[in-house]
């Protein structure tokens, strides 16, 4: 079993935390993980993409071939479409609903939603409202992880443990909020 994910969003949105949680979860289940990240200049408000490969076998390549992503997981709608050439036939697209508008020519939102809807099995998640419900707008990325967890080959308990591991450093409240955000995403 190999599962390929393309993670995307805008620099500063927390794409790397999404990657960190999924990677941690996969490891805890004894899977191989390769995760390529973005650093440096591209992190400042620009389009970012990270790739993650989870497998029960040896993984050679850090990068994913076009047409080989099982999932595109995006923090916002425009970015979910940018890397769609990576999606395999029948692959899953999951995106946060709230657009991140920091460019003048950002397309009309309805147009974006209809493009996303035209991809079979795609999901648009109201990450913003669910995160607010969980206790912090900043937990949008955990809502997204929750939604993805419905499809990913990692158990719910493992994810919750991974969230605890990663966020313990930041205090109990943050752990609680992120867990709640995860569960809301999972149930959405």
């Amino acid at each position: 079993m190999t599962y390929n994910i393309v993670l995307c969003g805008v620099g500063g949105q927390g794409v790397l935390s999404v990657a960190a949680i999924i990677a941690r979860g996969a490891m805890m289940e004894g899977l191989q993980v390769k995760q390529a990240e973005v650093h440096g200049m591209s992190q400042r408000g620009g389009a970012v993409i990270a790739t993650m490969r989870i497998s029960s076998e040896e993984i050679f390549s850090d990068l994913i071939s076009e047409g080989q992503a099982d999932m595109i997981l995006s923090m916002e709608p425009l970015e979910s479409i940018r890397h769609i050439s990576y999606l395999r036939k029948g692959g899953q697209l999951i995106t946060g609903k709230e657009p991140f508008i920091n460019i003048p020519e950002y397309p009309e939102q309805d147009k974006l939603y209809s493009v996303i809807d035209s991809i079979p099995g795609s999901m648009i998640i109201d990450t913003k409202n669910l995160a607010v419900e969980a206790g912090s707008q900043r937990a949008q990325n955990m809502v997204l992880v929750g939604s993805a967890s419905k499809v990913l080959p990692i158990k719910e308990e493992t994810f919750l443990k991974a969230i605890e591991n990663v966020f313990t450093r930041k205090g109990e409240e943050i752990v609680t909020i992120n867990k709640k955000a995860f569960v809301l995403g999972r149930n959405s």
Binding site: H39, G40, R44, A47, D62, S65, Q68, K89
Partner: protein, 533 residues
């Protein structure tokens, strides 16, 4: 031993620690930065005696490390590929030395230019210097090769270059740690002649270096880092890979029915005999390498003409950018994978931009207002977050060449007749190689304004401490000889806009060198301080 999940950069750091590293120096540069950061964290948590410092630039870092080696201890130097241009003088000259404590230079290349201004391939520097280059293909190898690099360095008395790339540096994987070796004792080299580059000594040292070539060649030939797998049943094509191309090729190979003979090269100088053996087994050799056609060109020099060599030089592999799994598939004649149906939509680009509330935004606003009053203003810029001032809505800068060039190019533009000329440079960049340009400018007596955008941090690479604080920079500027009344400070905030405009206007009209220091911390530094209370 224990397992850890590490970035490639972190694996290098851990490898160095386990190899008995005493001191590391570097200058932050994506994608190499995390090596020193990891070591600093290690110092804080595990080993107080370890030294891991940022320096003002790559050359100073390298030179300090050479002295550590002279004292018999193991030293690591880190930088990005363009940083090696800055350190090249020191690096090239150090190869003639008889390295004492292990000296390893970790250089991170950035094919595809994810956050760099060019794609240069550091293997050429190792070759140019006539020393060993190791090129890991995954994070585990990054760990192990770092340890081996120190051993080789001490055994062969050479500095060893460890070549990384963005995908190695910034990918995470599980690392198995090996044995931990104790650090070297203080043990200064007594042999002055091997550490002094006087011509009569250098001639001897250079000859010794040349004599050593066969030794290196033999090690390369025997090295497990250059694995050769022959398949006598495929006489049509053979493959050579380097670096990450190995991984991408291995993915593609799974789909090949008759697997070609394959040589992977990650220890340089190149294993000539193995290359000949491989080429002797096939009519055609495909070279899949990241970076420049380094191996490919070498092949043309040693193989008979009858062997067809395919690679970057005849566009079987694209010349520019990163190697990808798709490129490998195509080169091996495999079909592309079927993709999901792609909807028609125009995709606007989304370039990186200054953070909301960034101090540079306010500096550029004020600067733009003044520059707007002139017909042909010139603003030369430098490397850092403020380079993003190129984009709308700022459109504030006209050039960016390399670290320090904001200052020297401002001088050149002024002497060519431009007015007003403003050079914008960051605080960290100013200390890197900006000061020297300022000294030039002062000696020439140019009519130029230098704006030091001082955000109290090296922000773009991820918030590394700068080596001199704001108060120190003012003194450095004054100490260089800028007349004190023309060393001005502004606070780039909207509420000071009018005042800042006035100061910039005054200084660009001053008939001499003026320096305006815009002092306001990067918002992330402020946030961090605030979070800590």
């Amino acid at each position: 031993m224990s397992e850890m999940v590490l970035l490639g950069d972190e694996a290098v750091a851990q490898g160095a620690i386990d190899a008995g590293l005493s001191i590391a120096y570097g200058y932050p540069g994506t994608p190499s930065t995390e090596i020193v950061e990891y070591l600093q964290e290690w110092k804080r948590k595990e080993d107080e005696s370890l030294i891991a410092s940022w320096c003002s630039n790559e050359k100073t870092a390298y030179e300090a490390a050479v002295a550590v080696s002279m004292m018999g201890k193991r030293a690591l130097v880190t930088m990005k590929h363009v940083g090696l241009n800055v350190a090249a003088d020191a690096f090239m000259n150090s190869v003639g030395y008889t390295i004492h404590g292990g000296l390893v230079l970790a250089v991170a290349d950035d094919p595809g230019m994810h956050s760099s201004q060019n794609e240069q391939d550091s293997r050429y520097y190792a070759d140019f210097a006539r020393t060993i280059c190791l090129e890991p293909r995954n994070q585990q190898e990054a760990y192990e090769m770092t340890k081996d690099a120190f051993e080789l360095s001490e055994k062969l008395h050479l500095p060893v270059l460890l070549k990384l790339t963005t995908r190695i540096s910034h990918s995470r994987a599980v690392i198995k740690r090996g044995e931990v070796r104790p650090k070297n004792e203080f043990n200064p080299s007594k042999d002055r002649s091997h550490w002094t580059n006087l011509p009569f000594l250098s001639r001897q040292n250079y000859e010794d270096l040349w004599q050593q070539r066969p030794v290196l060649a033999e090690i390369s030939e025997k090295s497990d880092y250059n694995p050769l797998i022959l398949n006598g049943n495929n006489r049509d094509v053979a493959v050579i890979t380097t670096g990450l191309a190995y991984n991408y090729y291995k993915e593609a190979e799974r789909d090949l029915e008759n697997k070609p003979s394959h040589l992977h090269i990650s220890f340089y100088p190149m294993p000539e005999d193995k290359i000949r053996e491989l080429a002797g087994s096939a009519k055609r050799v495909i070279v899949i390498e990241e970076g420049y056609p380094f191996v490919e060109r070498f092949l043309k020099g040693i193989l008979p003409q009858a062997v067809q060599v395919d690679g970057k030089l005849n566009d079987v592999i694209p010349h520019l950018g990163e190697i990808t799994p798709d490129i490998c598939r195509k080169a091996m004649g495999l079909e592309a994978f079927e993709k999901a149906e792609i909807p028609e939509i125009e995709m606007p680009g989304r370039p990186p931009q200054l953070c909301k509330g960034c101090p540079h935004t306010d500096s550029y606003k004020a600067l733009n207002e003044v520059m707007g009053e002139y017909e042909n203003p010139v603003v030369t810029s430098d490397i850092g977050c403020y380079t993003l001032g190129y984009f709308a809505p700022h459109n504030a800068i006209h050039s960016c060449l390399d670290m320090g060039a904001a200052v020297t190019m401002a001088r050149g533009a002024a002497e060519a007749g431009a007015h007003p000329v403003v050079g914008v440079i960051g605080d960290s960049t100013f200390m890197h190689t900006g000061i020297q340009g300022l000294v030039d400018m002062l000696s020439a007596g140019n009519k130029v304004t230098l704006m030091i955008l001082d955000n109290s941090i090296t922000a773009m690479t991820g918030m590394q401490q700068t080596i001199v604080e704001s108060s120190g920079i003012i003194n450095v500027v004054k100490g260089c000889g800028v007349s004190p009344e023309h060393v001005r400070t502004i606070i780039p905030l909207p509420k000071h806009h009018e005042e800042n405009v006035k100061i910039i206007r005054e200084e660009v009209e001053y008939n001499g060198v003026s320096v305006i220091i815009a002092q306001r911390a990067c918002i992330h530094v402020v946030k961090r301080k605030y979070a800590k209370g």
